[in-house]
Amino acid sequence: MADFERARDGAFDDLLDAIEAGEGEYLECANGHGWLPPRRICPECGSRELSAEPIPESGEIVSFTEIAVAAPNFADDAPYITALANFGPVQVTGMMQDTDGDEAEVGMVVGLDVGERVTTGDRVLTFEPR
């Protein structure tokens, strides 16, 4: 790893801070399309009227994978599960750090949280079973 402090990734790190504080928000357009920040325009309908709304407390796993061959900055995390979850108006990608590979299922109900990457200590979005 580089010996300089990692620069913040604007809206992404702001979102992680907010989720840690229990106040995670997504952006929703006037037509109900939801996205994680940053966005200036809804790619679905072109609306520029985006408002911050609370991310629903629970979502459902759409798909997941247990990754055995990792990139170097996840080497010590492997094997780990990364999943795609549907929180209603918005979909999120996150790790399932407290779920074993044989326990994960499509349709599982999860909440959104922030965890830590084993390899580097960087924060990651996580899904906790509900």
Partner: protein, 365 residues
């Protein structure tokens, strides 16, 4: 590598390097693998096209497809009469972990890579969602891998010349469940190049090529899977195909065989469905049923595909077009499998198909 491909293409066409008016060159990970950006002029030098305008195209794994498309448009709109398009990638020098890292940056860095997504991981998410919503199994995927490995046995340009069995596939180590080692294309060094000439240039200079690119299309999609409505389909490919079919004045029923971007076995399924060769949900079983084998009704990846021919990322889109040309001309090791064919398509996808090009090739005489 690119000199070998480019000079080979020029010799094949019977054209001297100083006739080339422009080079469009695909490359994805040059900065990471070779510490070399700005490869366009370097590659023009390598093929003796001294001083021509040379531009590198980067659209992840569809880099060369985008380069081919630019060349086609350039020639069609009269900007040039003779261009070289192609690409090259060097990957094995950075090892499996390095290549995994380099490939992953084609995904969304903040929301996918930061959560551990690798390229096999991204396609694994698509595969599991497909199984869940549309059916199919890893055994269906095994038949795709077995088919493509077998097809590559008679392709002198293929990286892997090794037959595998369904059992080999099922027993192989997992990369990213449900995808295992034999669902994935290998890490490859390679290059490809094509000479594109206008009809006038070909006539005036006595070029006797019998195959033409008659349709080109390109589509896009949101970069991250989480921002797509349905991860079991690839609308960028469907849109690219519609455009290319319209351009060529054909439809999917006119296609005799297809080379599609099977970076992972599931990707062949998603591609074939998006191209309109099969209905959604039906592509998964076509290798097992013998429909897409080289003696089937719709041969797919008779060259071995990315799976066994190899996937030098920034060269693949051009490699597909070059290989289809040889197949249609009759000078490819697998030409016998498609000896009645007159129309074929090349599908080249970048990332999880957020960039996709489709080209139609037809025999002109």
């Amino acid at each position: 590598m690119f000199a070998e491909a480019g000079l080979g293409a020029l010799d094949d066409a019977g054209v001297a390097p100083d006739e080339v008016e422009a080079l469009y060159y695909g490359n994805f990970m040059g900065e990471m693998a070779d510490h070399q950006g700005h490869q366009g002029p370097m590659m023009a030098e390598a093929i003796g096209a001294d001083g021509v305008g040379a531009t590198r195209y980067e659209s992840a794994c569809a880099s060369a497809g985008a380069a081919v498309r630019q060349g086609v448009r350039d020639v069609r709109n009269g900007e040039a009469d003779l261009v070289v398009v192609g690409g090259a990638e060097r990957m094995t020098n950075i090892g499996t972990a390095g290549a995994t890292e380099a490939l992953s940056i084609a995904a969304d860095d903040l929301y996918e890579v930061n959560q551990g997504i690798t390229f096999p991981g991204a396609y694994a998410l698509m595969a599991r969602a497909y199984f869940d919503q549309l059916g199919g199994s890893t055994e269906d995927l095994a038949h795709i891998a077995v088919k493509n490995h077998d097809n590559a046995m008679e392709n002198e340009h293929a990286q892997l010349h090794r037959e595998i069995s369904v059992e080999d596939h099922q027993e192989a180590p997992q990369l990213a469940s449900p995808l295992g080692l034999y669902d994935s294309c290998p890490i490859t060094d390679g290059a490809a190049a094509i000479v594109l000439a206008s009809e006038d240039y070909a006539a005036e200079n006595g070029l006797d090529e019998t195959v033409a690119i008659t349709g080109t299309g390109q589509g896009g999609d949101r970069l991250a899977l989480q921002d797509r409505e349905d991860v079991t389909e690839t609308p960028a490919a469907a849109n690219a195909a519609d455009e290319a079919y319209d351009d060529a004045g054909i439809g999917p029923d006119d296609v005799d065989f297809a080379e599609v971007h099977d970076c992972f076995t599931i990707a062949e399924v998603l591609a074939a469905e998006a191209l309109g060769l099969f209905e959604k949900g039906e592509g998964i079983s076509k290798a097992r049923e013998g429909i897409t084998t080289r003696d089937g009704e719709m041969p797919i990846n008779v060259t071995g595909g990315l799976k066994a021919k190899g996937h030098p990322v920034g060269a693949t889109g051009a490699s597909q077009v070059a290989q289809i040309t040889m197949l249609l001309r009759g000078d490819h090791g697998r030409s016998d499998a498609v000896d009645d064919a007159s129309t074929a398509i090349a599908h080249n996808a970048g990332g999880t198909a957020a960039s996709t090009t489709v080209h139609v090739l037809e025999v002109t005489e």
